[in-house]
Symmetry: C2
Subunit: 109 residues, 2 copies
Amino acid sequence: MGNRALTPDVLVLIAERFKALAEPARLQILNCLRSGEMTVTELVEETSLGQANVSKHLQLLHSLGFVARRKNGLFVHYTLADKSVFQLCDVMCGRLDAEMKARRKLLAG
Amino acid sequence: MGNRALTPDVLVLIAERFKALAEPARLQILNCLRSGEMTVTELVEETSLGQANVSKHLQLLHSLGFVARRKNGLFVHYTLADKSVFQLCDVMCGRLDAEMKARRKLLAG
DNA sequence: CAACTACATTACCTTACAGCAATCTATATT
DNA sequence: AATATAGATTGCTGTAAGGTAATGTAGTTG
């Protein structure tokens, strides 16, 4: 688990970041941003979430460094801050696959 | 993001799994299990969480395939189901490091 | 300056869940 | 069988957080 000491404080920080990903709406937003920069309004249209809702999710994701902001006139463009989000989702998807395979084996076995 | 389609249902499943890690108490339990099999009572002592609390967390972690169970007489031994939990934490720790470095740069710059 | 647009913020409601105490179940011991 | 222990389950309470409507704010346009 890296070279970092897992003190209670660090566990809180890590948990806080996992919690940011523990929400379908935020995962949906992040997934939209995969295709590139998007404004809040575009995200609202694409996700069919409410504007205030999207805005709040974006504030959270930004405060934790998951997305970056670029303001241009009236518009605010958001982008993925880095690709580690998808490393995380990849590992989770791997877990999902393993789970489903195991479940199928139980049913078939 | 792998080869899996990120339909809303899949996003819910992924979010559900991230949520399991979005809790310091559960991260603490998982971290304890790094050193090997442990009984519920041992985990209670090590984490200084309540017994009912630990038991509930273990049910959740087990239902999502994070831990495995082995019953022996009165005792139930829990172990990590696989190592992917630590891949996830490693990536998160990497994010934390990057965040803190960026913060320091801002202060210093 | 007035009206409009894009986004952020606030206030409120509702739901989910961590923590705890009490109880229940299963196993072991005498 | 009676008692004790390990763990699971249930009911309760307080708190955190998602969704939404209303409002606020910065920037733009006429």
